[in-house]
């Protein structure tokens, strides 16, 4: 059993490392997305444009925004208000959930349609709404699959990446009572039919947001399926739940991020739909929700903001590229992390959304190859943040006692060349660390130090 908690990361990894099927599906999906992405980047250069410069620009935009977050949030709120969009601030998950529940109750809600939102996963909103007797339907195909299966997303942009078409075929026939098929087109058609009905009956639509434009008071939602458009136009009430870091100062700057996000996320120049939602319907002829409420969630984000060393994690535009490119993610998929946000960026965010104590292993579950920092469209130094979290865990004494002792000994050995040379024989103790899986090399008969001292090297080679 894979445990839904980062505290079980190591156990989960051990188990999943054996799952060759899963590995095959995930590697295939991630490689495909990566190759589409890199084709577009190559094309971008071939058109005389500079992808790297675009990334730098995006990094600067995000840096400026996060460094002055409060200012832009105030600006955003003013413009939301002008546009007739209600704003609420939620400090943590439970506050956000109770806001939503209260609103739903006020509106006598029976059916909620949701378009993909990681923030609602983060606060476990669905469980709360279902407990309150409300029917909740996820409408993004991937999310719908996951909901039917009673699972959590394994990837932030492709929630059902870990499922094969056979898995999904079986799931649909079991849960929807349709004849078994593993044809993606037929399966999609079933989903369309079932979900269209729900859309037309829904009382409330809940969505996340990709960007919140401060200067215009706009909610920007990016998607391919059209389910977000349906969820945010058909019901009478639209609730947006999103993190405070999603704010972007200007329209112009949003355009820059809009160029980077789909290329990095799915290898598309643009997604099928980008919605810029400015205000609720003013008259019935608008045929859109008459009310829009935006809930801005903190839930640990301000804590990240306070820590200079990891602050960049808030630059994240949730493209998922760092997951696709991560050899660890490719091998173990998202559930192993036991966190809503898996992969490299997840390993930085999770300690602040939960506790460092239970999620400290995540930061160690990286070979520090740096592929994530290299691909990140907003140039977050993920590598550096992971290293810092490790040092923070050490500072808090969350690392194993034996490890701390070993490093004490190691330091003593390294401090002094005589102890160092004497301590050579102790290295043999390293052997068992690997021996279940790999052959540890034998120590050289004489170290370079010894050979040098004995004159072996310069005598022979001069």
């Amino acid at each position: 059993m894979i445990q839904e908690s980062p505290a079980y990361f190591k156990e989960n990894i051990k188990q999943i490392s054996e799952d060759e099927n899963l590995r095959r599906i995930v590697r295939k999906a991630t490689s495909l997305t990566l190759s589409k992405r890199s084709d577009l980047v190559t094309e971008y250069y071939s058109e005389g444009k500079d992808w790297e410069a675009l990334r730098n620009q995006a990094h600067e935009i995000r840096k400026k925004t996060i460094d002055n977050l409060d200012t832009y949030l105030t600006d955003l709120e003013d413009h939301f208000e002008r546009n007739g969009i209600e704003v609420k601030h939620a400090i943590n998950a439970s506050e956000a959930c109770s806001f939503v529940l209260r609103i739903l109750k006020e509106h006598n809600t029976r059916l909620v349609v949701k378009s993909k939102s990681m923030v609602t996963e983060e606060i476990h909103l669905n469980d709360k709404m279902i407990e309150a007797g409300i029917e909740v339907v996820e409408t993004d195909l991937g999310e719908y699959i996951i909901q039917l299966a009673g699972e959590t997303p394994s990837h932030i942009t492709a929630p059902a990446m870990h499922k094969s078409r056979d898995d999904i075929g079986k799931l649909f026939s079991e849960k929807l009572g349709v004849p078994f098929t593993n044809d993606p087109a037929e399966l999609t058609a079933y989903a369309r039919r079932f979900l269209r009905e729900k859309f037309l009956k829904a009382d409330v639509g809940i969505s996340g947001a990709n960007f919140l434009i401060a200067e215009t008071g706009t909610v920007v939602i990016i998607e391919n399926e059209g389910n977000a458009r349906l969820s945010t136009t058909l019901p009478k009430l639209h609730i947006v739940i999103t993190g405070i870091e999603k704010v972007v100062p200007t329209l112009e700057e949003t355009a820059t991020l809009l160029k980077l996000l789909p290329v990095s996320a799915t290898g598309q120049k643009a997604t099928s739909y980008v919605s810029f939602i400015n205000s609720p319907a003013k008259v019935k002829e608008d045929a859109r929700p008459g009310k829009i409420i935006v809930i801005l969630l903190d839930n640990g984000r301000k804590e990240i903001l306070r820590r200079q060393e990891v602050r960049e994690a808030l630059y994240c535009i949730k493209c998922g590229a760092c997951m696709n490119v991560c050899p660890v993610y490719q091998t173990v998929s998202g559930h192993a992390y036991g966190s809503v946000y898996p992969g490299p960026i997840g390993s930085i965010l999770t300690p602040f959304l939960t506790t460092l104590k239970e999620s400290k292993d995540l930061a160690y579950g990286s070979s520090l190859c740096g592929a994530c920092s290299e691909i990140c469209p907003v140039k977050i130094d993920i590598h550096n943040a992971l290293l810092w979290i490790r040092s923070y865990a050490v500072q808090k004494k969350y690392t194993p006692f034996i490890e701390r002792m070993l490093f004490k000994l190691w330091r003593i050995a390294m401090e002094n060349i005589f102890v160092y040379n004497f301590g050579r024989s102790l290295l043999k103790f390293l052997q068992p660390l690997w021996s279940d899986y790999k052959d540890f090399p034998p120590l050289a008969e004489k170290s370079f130090h010894q050979l040098w001292k004995e004159g072996e090297i310069w005598n022979k080679n001069s």
């Binding site: 999904i168 993606p184 329209l251 643009a270 099928s272 002829e285 859109r288």
Partner: protein, 195 residues
């Protein structure tokens, strides 16, 4: 320059699975629309009430036996009853929706649709076929130019919701296999009139 942008737009649109046609006059737009509708075996279509279509509303009707309603007609049909419901119902049953795009974006092959009372969001979303019409002098370079123009022409702040549409509705959530028409239109046609 305009030609270059238009070519680029067409290339990108086709790349994302959209279809492109050029019309030399408003009458020709109708012809193309009719051709698409009859090819696809459509019986009904709903036309936006954007002023661009004013002169077209009455023309060409009956030519192919296709019923074309306008948003205005649906609105007057609703009378005192629930307009939104009627609109949903009509658009769910109709085969095609015809929209006007304020801009076309060359770099990405996108159409910029400003959702208003005369062309609500459902129009480009509920029917299985989406037909979008625009003018050749409305092609802009990229998204940032589109957003800038929307602002300077006072379309951004005045509209409740603007949508950039790039190709048909799509998903790749099942083993990354691309399927179109998951929730929105299966087919997207863009007709550009030379202006």
């Amino acid at each position: 320059m305009e030609q270059e942008l238009l070519n680029k737009f067409a290339t990108e649109l086709i790349r994302v699975g959209g279809e492109f046609s050029l019309a030399s006059s408003k009458i020709e737009i109708l012809k193309i629309v009719n051709k698409i509708l009859s090819q696809k075996g459509c019986n009904t279509a709903v036309l936006s009430s954007h002023p661009f279509f004013d002169s077209l509303k009455e023309m060409g009707k009956g030519e192919s036996g296709i019923n074309i309603f306008t948003i205005e007609q649906i609105l007057s049909l609703a009378g005192e009853s629930d307009y939104t419901n009627l609109l949903r119902e009509k658009l769910s049953q109709t085969d095609a929706g015809i929209n006007y795009a304020e801009y076309l974006i060359a770099e990405t092959g996108s159409a910029v649709v400003v959702n208003t009372q005369s062309e609500p969001s459902y129009l480009s979303l509920l029917p299985e076929i989406s037909i979008i019409v625009s003018k050749s002098n409305r092609v802009v370079k990229d998204m940032s130019e589109a957003l800038n123009r929307l602002r300077t022409e006072n379309l951004f702040d005045s509209s409740g919701c603007i949508t950039f549409i790039t190709g048909p509705s799509r998903t790749a959530d099942i083993e990354k296999v691309l399927i179109t028409g998951v929730h929105g239109p299966k087919k997207l046609y863009v007709i550009v009139i030379n202006f």
